[in-house]
Amino acid sequence: MYPKELKYDREHEWVRLEGDVATIGISDFAQDQLGEVVYVDLPSVGEAVSTGESFGEVESVKSVSELFSPISGEIVEVNEALEDAPETVNEDCYNAGWMIKVKVEDAAEVEALMDADDYEAYIAEEA
Protein backbone atom coordinates (compact mmCIF):
# COMPACT_ATOMS: atom_id res chain seq x y z
CA MET A 1 0.00 0.00 0.00
CA TYR A 2 2.69 2.53 1.00
CA PRO A 3 6.04 1.70 -0.60
CA LYS A 4 8.80 1.41 1.99
CA GLU A 5 11.47 3.14 -0.10
CA LEU A 6 9.51 6.42 -0.19
CA LYS A 7 9.14 9.31 2.24
CA TYR A 8 5.81 11.03 2.93
CA ASP A 9 4.55 14.37 4.22
CA ARG A 10 1.39 15.45 6.02
CA GLU A 11 -0.12 16.80 2.80
CA HIS A 12 0.01 13.25 1.36
CA GLU A 13 2.85 13.80 -1.10
CA TRP A 14 5.53 11.15 -1.50
CA VAL A 15 9.22 11.69 -2.25
CA ARG A 16 11.65 9.32 -3.93
CA LEU A 17 15.28 10.50 -3.57
CA GLU A 18 17.79 9.34 -6.20
CA GLY A 19 21.15 11.10 -5.84
CA ASP A 20 20.26 14.76 -5.41
CA VAL A 21 17.02 14.56 -7.42
CA ALA A 22 13.72 13.97 -5.65
CA THR A 23 10.68 12.73 -7.55
CA ILE A 24 7.39 13.90 -6.03
CA GLY A 25 3.84 12.63 -6.41
CA ILE A 26 0.71 12.05 -4.32
CA SER A 27 0.02 8.96 -2.22
CA ASP A 28 -2.49 6.20 -2.85
CA PHE A 29 -4.54 7.59 0.04
CA ALA A 30 -4.63 11.04 -1.61
CA GLN A 31 -5.66 9.77 -5.05
CA ASP A 32 -8.35 7.61 -3.45
CA GLN A 33 -9.70 10.58 -1.47
CA LEU A 34 -9.73 12.78 -4.57
CA GLY A 35 -11.54 10.31 -6.77
CA GLU A 36 -11.19 10.39 -10.54
CA VAL A 37 -8.46 12.90 -11.42
CA VAL A 38 -9.36 14.99 -14.48
CA TYR A 39 -6.62 17.63 -14.55
CA VAL A 40 -3.21 18.28 -13.07
CA ASP A 41 -1.76 21.79 -13.16
CA LEU A 42 2.01 21.65 -12.85
CA PRO A 43 4.73 24.34 -12.74
CA SER A 44 7.49 24.82 -15.32
CA VAL A 45 11.02 23.45 -15.36
CA GLY A 46 13.43 25.93 -13.80
CA GLU A 47 10.97 27.26 -11.23
CA ALA A 48 11.92 27.08 -7.57
CA VAL A 49 9.74 25.29 -5.06
CA SER A 50 9.96 25.68 -1.32
CA THR A 51 8.85 23.52 1.56
CA GLY A 52 5.17 23.81 2.37
CA GLU A 53 4.39 26.02 -0.62
CA SER A 54 1.97 25.21 -3.39
CA PHE A 55 3.54 24.05 -6.66
CA GLY A 56 0.35 23.20 -8.52
CA GLU A 57 -3.07 21.68 -8.19
CA VAL A 58 -4.84 18.46 -8.89
CA GLU A 59 -8.47 18.53 -9.93
CA SER A 60 -10.87 15.63 -9.63
CA VAL A 61 -14.54 15.26 -10.45
CA LYS A 62 -15.22 16.10 -6.82
CA SER A 63 -12.81 18.87 -5.91
CA VAL A 64 -9.53 20.66 -6.43
CA SER A 65 -6.58 20.30 -4.12
CA GLU A 66 -3.36 22.22 -4.00
CA LEU A 67 -0.10 20.33 -4.26
CA PHE A 68 2.35 21.33 -1.54
CA SER A 69 6.05 20.79 -1.93
CA PRO A 70 7.54 18.58 0.80
CA ILE A 71 11.01 20.02 0.12
CA SER A 72 12.87 22.98 -1.38
CA GLY A 73 14.79 23.06 -4.63
CA GLU A 74 14.65 23.69 -8.36
CA ILE A 75 12.32 21.84 -10.70
CA VAL A 76 14.30 19.85 -13.25
CA GLU A 77 11.48 17.91 -14.86
CA VAL A 78 7.67 17.78 -14.87
CA ASN A 79 5.48 14.86 -15.92
CA GLU A 80 4.00 16.25 -19.11
CA ALA A 81 2.18 12.99 -19.80
CA LEU A 82 -0.32 13.97 -17.10
CA GLU A 83 -1.60 16.79 -19.30
CA ASP A 84 -3.26 14.32 -21.67
CA ALA A 85 -3.64 11.42 -19.23
CA PRO A 86 -4.41 12.82 -15.75
CA GLU A 87 -6.06 9.51 -14.80
CA THR A 88 -2.54 8.05 -14.53
CA VAL A 89 -2.48 9.61 -11.05
CA ASN A 90 -5.27 7.21 -10.05
CA GLU A 91 -3.92 4.22 -11.93
CA ASP A 92 -0.27 4.34 -10.91
CA CYS A 93 0.37 7.07 -8.36
CA TYR A 94 3.85 5.94 -7.31
CA ASN A 95 5.39 5.41 -10.76
CA ALA A 96 3.87 6.68 -14.00
CA GLY A 97 1.75 9.16 -12.00
CA TRP A 98 4.72 11.13 -10.63
CA MET A 99 4.41 14.92 -10.87
CA ILE A 100 7.69 16.80 -10.58
CA LYS A 101 11.40 16.14 -10.15
CA VAL A 102 13.34 18.55 -7.96
CA LYS A 103 17.06 19.13 -7.50
CA VAL A 104 17.24 18.95 -3.74
CA GLU A 105 18.87 21.79 -1.80
CA ASP A 106 19.12 19.94 1.49
CA ALA A 107 18.93 16.15 1.68
CA ALA A 108 18.20 16.41 5.42
CA GLU A 109 14.78 17.82 4.50
CA VAL A 110 13.91 14.54 2.80
CA GLU A 111 15.32 12.57 5.68
CA ALA A 112 13.08 14.41 8.12
CA LEU A 113 9.88 13.32 6.33
CA MET A 114 7.76 10.37 7.50
CA ASP A 115 8.60 6.84 6.46
CA ALA A 116 5.89 4.43 5.28
CA ASP A 117 5.06 3.17 8.79
CA ASP A 118 4.82 6.65 10.28
CA TYR A 119 2.69 7.78 7.35
CA GLU A 120 0.34 4.83 7.74
CA ALA A 121 -0.05 5.62 11.43
CA TYR A 122 -0.63 9.30 10.55
CA ILE A 123 -3.43 8.38 8.14
CA ALA A 124 -5.04 6.06 10.68
CA GLU A 125 -5.02 8.95 13.13
CA GLU A 126 -6.45 11.37 10.53
CA ALA A 127 -9.26 8.96 9.66
Binding site: Y39, D41, S63, V64
Partner: protein, 445 residues
Protein backbone atom coordinates in the same frame (compact mmCIF):
# COMPACT_ATOMS: atom_id res chain seq x y z
CA UNK B 1 -38.40 30.34 11.05
CA UNK B 2 -40.33 32.54 8.63
CA UNK B 3 -38.24 35.24 7.02
CA UNK B 4 -40.99 37.75 6.35
CA UNK B 5 -41.74 39.69 8.43
CA UNK B 6 -38.94 39.86 10.96
CA UNK B 7 -40.40 40.80 14.32
CA UNK B 8 -38.50 42.97 16.78
CA UNK B 9 -38.12 39.90 18.98
CA UNK B 10 -36.57 37.88 16.15
CA UNK B 11 -34.30 40.79 15.27
CA UNK B 12 -33.05 41.01 18.86
CA UNK B 13 -32.51 37.25 18.93
CA UNK B 14 -30.41 37.37 15.75
CA UNK B 15 -28.42 40.39 16.93
CA UNK B 16 -27.80 38.61 20.23
CA UNK B 17 -26.54 35.48 18.55
CA UNK B 18 -23.99 37.37 16.40
CA UNK B 19 -23.02 39.55 19.34
CA UNK B 20 -24.11 42.90 17.90
CA UNK B 21 -25.71 45.43 20.29
CA UNK B 22 -28.04 46.91 17.64
CA UNK B 23 -28.63 47.18 13.88
CA UNK B 24 -26.28 50.19 13.81
CA UNK B 25 -23.74 48.14 15.72
CA UNK B 26 -24.08 45.39 13.12
CA UNK B 27 -23.23 47.85 10.33
CA UNK B 28 -20.48 49.74 12.14
CA UNK B 29 -17.84 48.53 9.63
CA UNK B 30 -19.61 50.54 6.92
CA UNK B 31 -18.40 54.18 6.91
CA UNK B 32 -21.01 56.45 8.53
CA UNK B 33 -21.22 58.62 5.42
CA UNK B 34 -22.36 55.66 3.34
CA UNK B 35 -25.12 54.60 5.74
CA UNK B 36 -28.75 55.66 5.35
CA UNK B 37 -29.73 57.36 8.59
CA UNK B 38 -33.32 58.37 7.70
CA UNK B 39 -36.39 56.46 6.57
CA UNK B 40 -36.71 55.88 2.82
CA UNK B 41 -38.43 58.79 1.07
CA UNK B 42 -41.35 56.88 -0.41
CA UNK B 43 -44.81 58.25 -1.21
CA UNK B 44 -47.89 56.72 0.39
CA UNK B 45 -49.74 53.63 -0.84
CA UNK B 46 -52.00 53.71 -3.91
CA UNK B 47 -54.91 51.62 -5.13
CA UNK B 48 -54.35 49.46 -8.20
CA UNK B 49 -56.22 51.71 -10.67
CA UNK B 50 -54.39 54.79 -9.43
CA UNK B 51 -51.06 52.96 -9.47
CA UNK B 52 -51.54 51.71 -13.05
CA UNK B 53 -52.31 55.28 -14.21
CA UNK B 54 -49.29 56.59 -12.33
CA UNK B 55 -46.92 54.04 -13.86
CA UNK B 56 -48.34 54.64 -17.36
CA UNK B 57 -47.71 58.35 -16.93
CA UNK B 58 -44.12 57.66 -15.90
CA UNK B 59 -43.66 55.32 -18.86
CA UNK B 60 -45.10 57.90 -21.27
CA UNK B 61 -42.31 60.28 -20.30
CA UNK B 62 -39.83 57.93 -21.98
CA UNK B 63 -39.11 57.84 -25.68
CA UNK B 64 -38.43 54.51 -27.28
CA UNK B 65 -37.68 53.09 -30.69
CA UNK B 66 -41.38 52.91 -31.55
CA UNK B 67 -41.93 56.64 -31.03
CA UNK B 68 -38.75 58.15 -32.45
CA UNK B 69 -36.38 57.17 -35.22
CA UNK B 70 -33.16 56.34 -33.41
CA UNK B 71 -29.73 56.41 -34.98
CA UNK B 72 -28.14 55.89 -31.59
CA UNK B 73 -25.75 52.97 -31.30
CA UNK B 74 -22.46 52.91 -29.47
CA UNK B 75 -23.06 49.47 -27.99
CA UNK B 76 -26.87 49.34 -27.87
CA UNK B 77 -28.81 48.89 -31.09
CA UNK B 78 -32.35 49.18 -32.35
CA UNK B 79 -32.58 45.84 -34.15
CA UNK B 80 -35.95 44.20 -34.61
CA UNK B 81 -36.85 41.57 -32.02
CA UNK B 82 -39.12 38.87 -33.50
CA UNK B 83 -42.27 38.02 -31.52
CA UNK B 84 -41.08 34.47 -30.88
CA UNK B 85 -38.29 35.76 -28.62
CA UNK B 86 -40.60 37.26 -25.98
CA UNK B 87 -42.97 34.32 -26.30
CA UNK B 88 -40.24 31.83 -25.36
CA UNK B 89 -38.45 34.03 -22.83
CA UNK B 90 -41.63 34.68 -20.86
CA UNK B 91 -42.45 31.00 -20.32
CA UNK B 92 -42.58 30.60 -16.52
CA UNK B 93 -40.16 27.66 -16.63
CA UNK B 94 -37.50 29.97 -18.09
CA UNK B 95 -38.61 33.19 -16.41
CA UNK B 96 -36.98 32.37 -13.11
CA UNK B 97 -34.04 33.48 -11.06
CA UNK B 98 -33.29 29.87 -10.17
CA UNK B 99 -29.66 28.95 -10.67
CA UNK B 100 -29.30 25.65 -12.52
CA UNK B 101 -26.95 24.01 -10.01
CA UNK B 102 -29.14 20.94 -9.78
CA UNK B 103 -29.15 19.32 -13.20
CA UNK B 104 -31.95 16.93 -12.24
CA UNK B 105 -34.39 19.86 -12.08
CA UNK B 106 -32.80 22.24 -14.60
CA UNK B 107 -32.46 20.34 -17.85
CA UNK B 108 -34.48 22.90 -19.83
CA UNK B 109 -32.46 25.90 -18.66
CA UNK B 110 -29.18 24.03 -19.02
CA UNK B 111 -29.97 22.90 -22.55
CA UNK B 112 -31.03 26.43 -23.52
CA UNK B 113 -27.69 27.78 -22.28
CA UNK B 114 -25.83 24.95 -24.03
CA UNK B 115 -27.56 25.79 -27.33
CA UNK B 116 -26.70 29.48 -26.84
CA UNK B 117 -23.05 28.57 -26.21
CA UNK B 118 -22.98 26.36 -29.32
CA UNK B 119 -24.35 29.15 -31.50
CA UNK B 120 -21.89 31.70 -30.09
CA UNK B 121 -19.08 29.26 -30.94
CA UNK B 122 -20.39 28.93 -34.50
CA UNK B 123 -20.67 32.70 -34.88
CA UNK B 124 -17.26 33.59 -33.48
CA UNK B 125 -15.41 30.54 -34.75
CA UNK B 126 -14.16 29.87 -31.21
CA UNK B 127 -14.20 26.47 -29.52
CA UNK B 128 -15.87 27.27 -26.20
CA UNK B 129 -18.25 29.92 -24.94
CA UNK B 130 -19.36 30.62 -21.41
CA UNK B 131 -22.99 30.95 -20.37
CA UNK B 132 -22.73 34.76 -20.80
CA UNK B 133 -21.63 37.63 -18.58
CA UNK B 134 -23.17 40.95 -17.49
CA UNK B 135 -22.39 42.91 -20.62
CA UNK B 136 -19.76 43.55 -23.26
CA UNK B 137 -17.73 45.85 -21.03
CA UNK B 138 -17.35 43.34 -18.20
CA UNK B 139 -16.64 40.58 -20.70
CA UNK B 140 -13.75 42.67 -22.06
CA UNK B 141 -12.35 43.34 -18.58
CA UNK B 142 -12.66 39.64 -17.70
CA UNK B 143 -10.83 38.77 -20.92
CA UNK B 144 -7.92 40.98 -19.85
CA UNK B 145 -7.75 39.28 -16.45
CA UNK B 146 -8.00 35.84 -18.05
CA UNK B 147 -5.16 36.65 -20.45
CA UNK B 148 -3.03 37.61 -17.45
CA UNK B 149 -3.77 34.24 -15.84
CA UNK B 150 -3.03 32.31 -19.02
CA UNK B 151 0.23 34.09 -19.85
CA UNK B 152 1.28 34.83 -16.24
CA UNK B 153 1.93 38.41 -17.38
CA UNK B 154 0.59 41.66 -15.99
CA UNK B 155 0.46 44.20 -18.78
CA UNK B 156 -2.39 44.79 -21.19
CA UNK B 157 -2.37 46.93 -24.32
CA UNK B 158 -5.72 48.34 -25.35
CA UNK B 159 -6.52 50.30 -28.47
CA UNK B 160 -8.29 53.62 -27.93
CA UNK B 161 -10.77 52.61 -30.64
CA UNK B 162 -12.42 50.35 -28.03
CA UNK B 163 -15.60 51.90 -26.57
CA UNK B 164 -14.54 54.53 -23.95
CA UNK B 165 -16.99 53.14 -21.38
CA UNK B 166 -15.58 49.65 -21.88
CA UNK B 167 -12.10 51.04 -21.27
CA UNK B 168 -13.42 52.74 -18.12
CA UNK B 169 -14.83 49.42 -16.93
CA UNK B 170 -11.47 47.79 -17.57
CA UNK B 171 -9.78 50.54 -15.54
CA UNK B 172 -12.23 49.93 -12.67
CA UNK B 173 -11.39 46.23 -12.68
CA UNK B 174 -7.67 46.87 -12.38
CA UNK B 175 -7.86 49.81 -9.96
CA UNK B 176 -6.24 47.65 -7.30
CA UNK B 177 -3.14 47.34 -9.45
CA UNK B 178 -3.76 43.80 -10.69
CA UNK B 179 -2.85 44.82 -14.24
CA UNK B 180 -1.00 47.64 -15.96
CA UNK B 181 -3.06 49.11 -18.76
CA UNK B 182 -1.42 50.81 -21.72
CA UNK B 183 -3.76 52.68 -24.04
CA UNK B 184 -2.65 53.33 -27.59
CA UNK B 185 -4.20 56.33 -29.33
CA UNK B 186 -6.24 55.83 -32.47
CA UNK B 187 -5.13 57.05 -35.88
CA UNK B 188 -7.76 58.06 -38.44
CA UNK B 189 -10.49 56.18 -36.58
CA UNK B 190 -8.68 52.86 -36.45
CA UNK B 191 -5.97 51.27 -34.31
CA UNK B 192 -2.49 52.64 -34.92
CA UNK B 193 -0.75 49.41 -35.91
CA UNK B 194 2.79 50.79 -35.66
CA UNK B 195 2.20 52.37 -32.24
CA UNK B 196 0.55 49.17 -30.99
CA UNK B 197 3.45 47.04 -32.22
CA UNK B 198 5.80 49.40 -30.39
CA UNK B 199 3.72 49.17 -27.21
CA UNK B 200 3.71 45.35 -27.18
CA UNK B 201 6.49 43.61 -25.29
CA UNK B 202 7.22 40.26 -23.66
CA UNK B 203 5.46 41.36 -20.47
CA UNK B 204 2.20 41.92 -22.38
CA UNK B 205 -0.60 39.49 -21.54
CA UNK B 206 -3.06 40.70 -24.16
CA UNK B 207 -3.85 43.10 -26.94
CA UNK B 208 -7.46 44.30 -26.77
CA UNK B 209 -9.13 45.66 -29.90
CA UNK B 210 -12.67 46.09 -31.19
CA UNK B 211 -13.92 45.49 -34.70
CA UNK B 212 -16.26 47.14 -35.56
CA UNK B 213 -14.55 49.77 -33.40
CA UNK B 214 -16.29 52.44 -31.33
CA UNK B 215 -16.17 54.63 -34.45
CA UNK B 216 -17.85 51.89 -36.49
CA UNK B 217 -14.69 51.22 -38.49
CA UNK B 218 -13.37 47.76 -39.31
CA UNK B 219 -9.90 47.00 -37.99
CA UNK B 220 -7.04 45.24 -39.73
CA UNK B 221 -7.38 42.28 -37.36
CA UNK B 222 -4.92 40.05 -39.16
CA UNK B 223 -1.88 42.27 -38.64
CA UNK B 224 -2.94 43.28 -35.12
CA UNK B 225 -3.31 39.61 -34.19
CA UNK B 226 0.09 38.78 -35.63
CA UNK B 227 1.69 41.61 -33.65
CA UNK B 228 0.12 40.29 -30.43
CA UNK B 229 1.19 36.72 -31.07
CA UNK B 230 4.72 37.81 -31.96
CA UNK B 231 5.33 38.77 -28.32
CA UNK B 232 3.37 35.81 -26.93
CA UNK B 233 0.35 37.90 -25.92
CA UNK B 234 -3.24 36.76 -26.36
CA UNK B 235 -5.32 38.53 -28.98
CA UNK B 236 -8.68 39.70 -27.60
CA UNK B 237 -11.26 40.89 -30.10
CA UNK B 238 -14.49 42.65 -29.20
CA UNK B 239 -17.16 42.46 -31.87
CA UNK B 240 -20.87 42.92 -32.56
CA UNK B 241 -22.25 39.38 -32.81
CA UNK B 242 -25.23 40.33 -34.98
CA UNK B 243 -22.80 41.32 -37.75
CA UNK B 244 -21.00 37.98 -37.67
CA UNK B 245 -23.55 36.79 -40.20
CA UNK B 246 -21.62 38.88 -42.75
CA UNK B 247 -18.24 39.56 -41.17
CA UNK B 248 -15.42 37.04 -41.09
CA UNK B 249 -15.41 35.39 -37.61
CA UNK B 250 -12.68 36.76 -35.31
CA UNK B 251 -11.23 33.25 -34.94
CA UNK B 252 -10.04 33.34 -38.56
CA UNK B 253 -7.86 36.36 -37.66
CA UNK B 254 -6.22 34.48 -34.81
CA UNK B 255 -8.37 35.77 -31.93
CA UNK B 256 -7.71 33.89 -28.68
CA UNK B 257 -10.68 35.40 -26.85
CA UNK B 258 -13.75 36.96 -28.45
CA UNK B 259 -16.06 39.22 -26.46
CA UNK B 260 -19.05 41.29 -27.39
CA UNK B 261 -22.24 42.99 -26.33
CA UNK B 262 -24.99 40.54 -27.20
CA UNK B 263 -27.87 43.02 -26.81
CA UNK B 264 -28.08 43.17 -30.60
CA UNK B 265 -29.15 39.51 -30.60
CA UNK B 266 -32.87 39.63 -29.82
CA UNK B 267 -32.63 41.80 -26.71
CA UNK B 268 -34.49 45.09 -26.24
CA UNK B 269 -32.56 48.35 -25.86
CA UNK B 270 -34.26 48.66 -22.47
CA UNK B 271 -32.62 51.98 -21.45
CA UNK B 272 -29.18 50.52 -22.10
CA UNK B 273 -29.43 47.39 -20.00
CA UNK B 274 -29.37 44.71 -18.83
CA UNK B 275 -26.99 43.66 -21.55
CA UNK B 276 -25.46 40.36 -22.45
CA UNK B 277 -21.75 39.73 -22.27
CA UNK B 278 -20.62 37.35 -24.98
CA UNK B 279 -17.42 35.52 -24.10
CA UNK B 280 -15.76 32.78 -26.15
CA UNK B 281 -12.24 31.41 -26.30
CA UNK B 282 -10.04 28.54 -27.38
CA UNK B 283 -10.58 25.23 -25.61
CA UNK B 284 -6.96 25.16 -24.43
CA UNK B 285 -7.76 28.03 -22.07
CA UNK B 286 -11.10 26.80 -20.75
CA UNK B 287 -9.82 26.33 -17.19
CA UNK B 288 -8.95 30.00 -17.02
CA UNK B 289 -12.24 31.12 -18.53
CA UNK B 290 -14.46 33.18 -16.22
CA UNK B 291 -18.13 32.50 -15.62
CA UNK B 292 -20.33 29.48 -15.98
CA UNK B 293 -20.14 26.91 -18.69
CA UNK B 294 -22.67 24.22 -19.52
CA UNK B 295 -21.56 20.89 -20.92
CA UNK B 296 -23.35 17.97 -22.54
CA UNK B 297 -22.84 14.56 -20.95
CA UNK B 298 -24.56 11.23 -20.46
CA UNK B 299 -26.17 9.86 -17.30
CA UNK B 300 -25.70 6.36 -15.84
CA UNK B 301 -28.26 5.01 -18.31
CA UNK B 302 -26.46 6.56 -21.27
CA UNK B 303 -29.06 9.29 -21.81
CA UNK B 304 -27.96 12.76 -22.88
CA UNK B 305 -28.05 15.39 -20.16
CA UNK B 306 -26.69 18.85 -19.50
CA UNK B 307 -24.69 20.04 -16.48
CA UNK B 308 -22.71 23.00 -15.23
CA UNK B 309 -19.18 21.81 -15.86
CA UNK B 310 -15.65 23.02 -14.97
CA UNK B 311 -17.27 24.39 -11.81
CA UNK B 312 -14.00 24.19 -9.91
CA UNK B 313 -13.17 27.54 -11.56
CA UNK B 314 -16.08 29.11 -9.77
CA UNK B 315 -16.27 30.85 -6.46
CA UNK B 316 -18.89 28.62 -4.92
CA UNK B 317 -16.26 25.86 -5.03
CA UNK B 318 -13.06 27.76 -4.33
CA UNK B 319 -13.38 31.39 -3.48
CA UNK B 320 -9.66 32.17 -3.29
CA UNK B 321 -8.83 30.42 -6.56
CA UNK B 322 -11.89 31.35 -8.61
CA UNK B 323 -11.24 32.70 -12.09
CA UNK B 324 -13.74 35.48 -11.55
CA UNK B 325 -16.11 36.84 -8.95
CA UNK B 326 -18.76 36.65 -11.64
CA UNK B 327 -20.10 33.15 -11.37
CA UNK B 328 -23.53 34.09 -12.51
CA UNK B 329 -24.77 34.77 -15.99
CA UNK B 330 -27.45 36.73 -17.80
CA UNK B 331 -29.45 33.63 -18.46
CA UNK B 332 -32.64 35.26 -19.69
CA UNK B 333 -30.75 37.55 -22.06
CA UNK B 334 -28.70 34.61 -23.29
CA UNK B 335 -31.91 32.67 -23.82
CA UNK B 336 -33.31 35.58 -25.86
CA UNK B 337 -30.12 35.58 -27.94
CA UNK B 338 -30.37 31.83 -28.44
CA UNK B 339 -34.02 32.01 -29.49
CA UNK B 340 -33.23 34.92 -31.82
CA UNK B 341 -30.37 33.06 -33.51
CA UNK B 342 -32.39 29.86 -33.80
CA UNK B 343 -35.31 31.77 -35.31
CA UNK B 344 -33.13 33.74 -37.73
CA UNK B 345 -30.89 30.91 -38.83
CA UNK B 346 -27.68 31.64 -40.67
CA UNK B 347 -29.40 33.05 -43.76
CA UNK B 348 -31.65 35.27 -41.68
CA UNK B 349 -28.73 36.60 -39.68
CA UNK B 350 -26.73 37.27 -42.84
CA UNK B 351 -29.77 39.15 -44.18
CA UNK B 352 -29.91 41.35 -41.06
CA UNK B 353 -26.19 42.05 -41.36
CA UNK B 354 -26.33 42.80 -45.07
CA UNK B 355 -29.35 45.08 -44.72
CA UNK B 356 -27.82 47.00 -41.80
CA UNK B 357 -24.50 47.47 -43.60
CA UNK B 358 -26.06 48.45 -46.93
CA UNK B 359 -28.43 50.95 -45.32
CA UNK B 360 -25.62 52.44 -43.24
CA UNK B 361 -23.58 53.05 -46.37
CA UNK B 362 -26.59 54.53 -48.15
CA UNK B 363 -27.21 56.96 -45.28
CA UNK B 364 -23.55 57.89 -44.97
CA UNK B 365 -23.37 58.84 -48.65
CA UNK B 366 -26.61 60.78 -48.42
CA UNK B 367 -25.58 62.72 -45.30
CA UNK B 368 -22.25 63.67 -46.85
CA UNK B 369 -24.12 64.77 -49.99
CA UNK B 370 -26.18 67.25 -47.92
CA UNK B 371 -23.00 69.23 -47.32
CA UNK B 372 -23.83 69.42 -43.60
CA UNK B 373 -21.60 66.49 -42.74
CA UNK B 374 -18.13 65.51 -43.88
CA UNK B 375 -16.13 62.32 -43.81
CA UNK B 376 -13.29 62.14 -41.29
CA UNK B 377 -12.01 58.59 -41.64
CA UNK B 378 -11.12 56.60 -44.73
CA UNK B 379 -11.40 53.17 -43.11
CA UNK B 380 -14.16 50.77 -44.16
CA UNK B 381 -17.12 50.53 -41.78
CA UNK B 382 -20.00 48.15 -41.16
CA UNK B 383 -23.37 49.32 -39.82
CA UNK B 384 -22.16 52.33 -37.85
CA UNK B 385 -20.20 55.34 -39.07
CA UNK B 386 -18.67 58.58 -37.82
CA UNK B 387 -19.03 61.92 -39.57
CA UNK B 388 -18.05 65.46 -38.66
CA UNK B 389 -20.92 67.96 -38.40
CA UNK B 390 -19.93 71.32 -39.81
CA UNK B 391 -21.79 73.32 -37.16
CA UNK B 392 -22.95 72.98 -33.55
CA UNK B 393 -23.75 69.31 -32.84
CA UNK B 394 -25.99 69.94 -29.82
CA UNK B 395 -28.14 72.45 -31.70
CA UNK B 396 -28.49 70.06 -34.66
CA UNK B 397 -29.50 67.17 -32.42
CA UNK B 398 -32.02 69.29 -30.49
CA UNK B 399 -33.60 70.50 -33.72
CA UNK B 400 -33.86 67.00 -35.22
CA UNK B 401 -35.19 65.64 -31.94
CA UNK B 402 -38.15 68.01 -32.30
CA UNK B 403 -38.84 66.30 -35.65
CA UNK B 404 -38.73 62.86 -34.01
CA UNK B 405 -35.15 61.80 -34.69
CA UNK B 406 -32.33 60.81 -32.35
CA UNK B 407 -29.60 62.05 -34.65
CA UNK B 408 -26.69 59.89 -33.62
CA UNK B 409 -24.28 59.98 -30.72
CA UNK B 410 -22.27 63.13 -30.01
CA UNK B 411 -18.71 61.80 -29.62
CA UNK B 412 -17.63 65.06 -28.00
CA UNK B 413 -19.36 63.67 -24.90
CA UNK B 414 -16.61 61.10 -24.52
CA UNK B 415 -13.51 63.03 -25.53
CA UNK B 416 -12.67 66.65 -26.34
CA UNK B 417 -10.54 65.34 -29.22
CA UNK B 418 -13.70 64.02 -30.85
CA UNK B 419 -15.73 67.23 -30.52
CA UNK B 420 -17.84 67.75 -33.63
CA UNK B 421 -17.95 64.04 -34.48
CA UNK B 422 -21.27 62.19 -34.60
CA UNK B 423 -21.70 58.41 -34.63
CA UNK B 424 -24.70 57.04 -36.54
CA UNK B 425 -25.99 53.48 -36.14
CA UNK B 426 -28.25 51.94 -38.78
CA UNK B 427 -30.19 48.68 -38.52
CA UNK B 428 -32.52 46.65 -40.72
CA UNK B 429 -35.42 48.54 -39.10
CA UNK B 430 -34.57 51.76 -40.91
CA UNK B 431 -36.49 51.70 -44.18
CA UNK B 432 -35.29 53.61 -47.18
CA UNK B 433 -38.25 55.98 -46.80
CA UNK B 434 -37.25 56.71 -43.20
CA UNK B 435 -33.64 57.32 -44.21
CA UNK B 436 -34.68 59.62 -47.07
CA UNK B 437 -36.97 61.66 -44.82
CA UNK B 438 -34.19 62.03 -42.27
CA UNK B 439 -31.78 63.24 -44.94
CA UNK B 440 -34.40 65.82 -46.04
CA UNK B 441 -34.61 67.08 -42.46
CA UNK B 442 -30.84 67.38 -42.34
CA UNK B 443 -30.78 69.27 -45.63
CA UNK B 444 -33.30 71.72 -44.21
CA UNK B 445 -31.11 72.57 -41.20
Amino acid sequence: MRFIPVTCGEQDEMLGSVGAPSIDGLYEDIPAGARLTRPLDLPGAMGEIELAAHIEKLAAANEDGSRVVSFLGGGCYDHYVPAIVDSVVSKPAFFTAYTPYQPEVSQGTLQAIYEYQSMICQLTGMEVSNASMYDGATALAEAALMAARVTKRHRVVVSATVHPEWRETLATYVESGTLDIVEVAAKDGVSDGAAIAAALDDATAALLVASPSFYGTLEDLRSLGEAAHEVGALFVVATDPVLLGVLEPPASYGADIVVGEGQSLGNAMSFGGPGLGVFACRKAHIRQMPGRVVGRTTDVDGRTGFVLTFSTREQHIRREKATSNICSNHSLNALAAGVYLAAMGSDGLAGIGRASVAKAHYLEDALVATGRFERVFGAPFAAEFTLRYRDDVAAMQARLHESGYLAGLDLGRFSADDAGLVLFAVTERHTRAVLDRFVEEVSAL
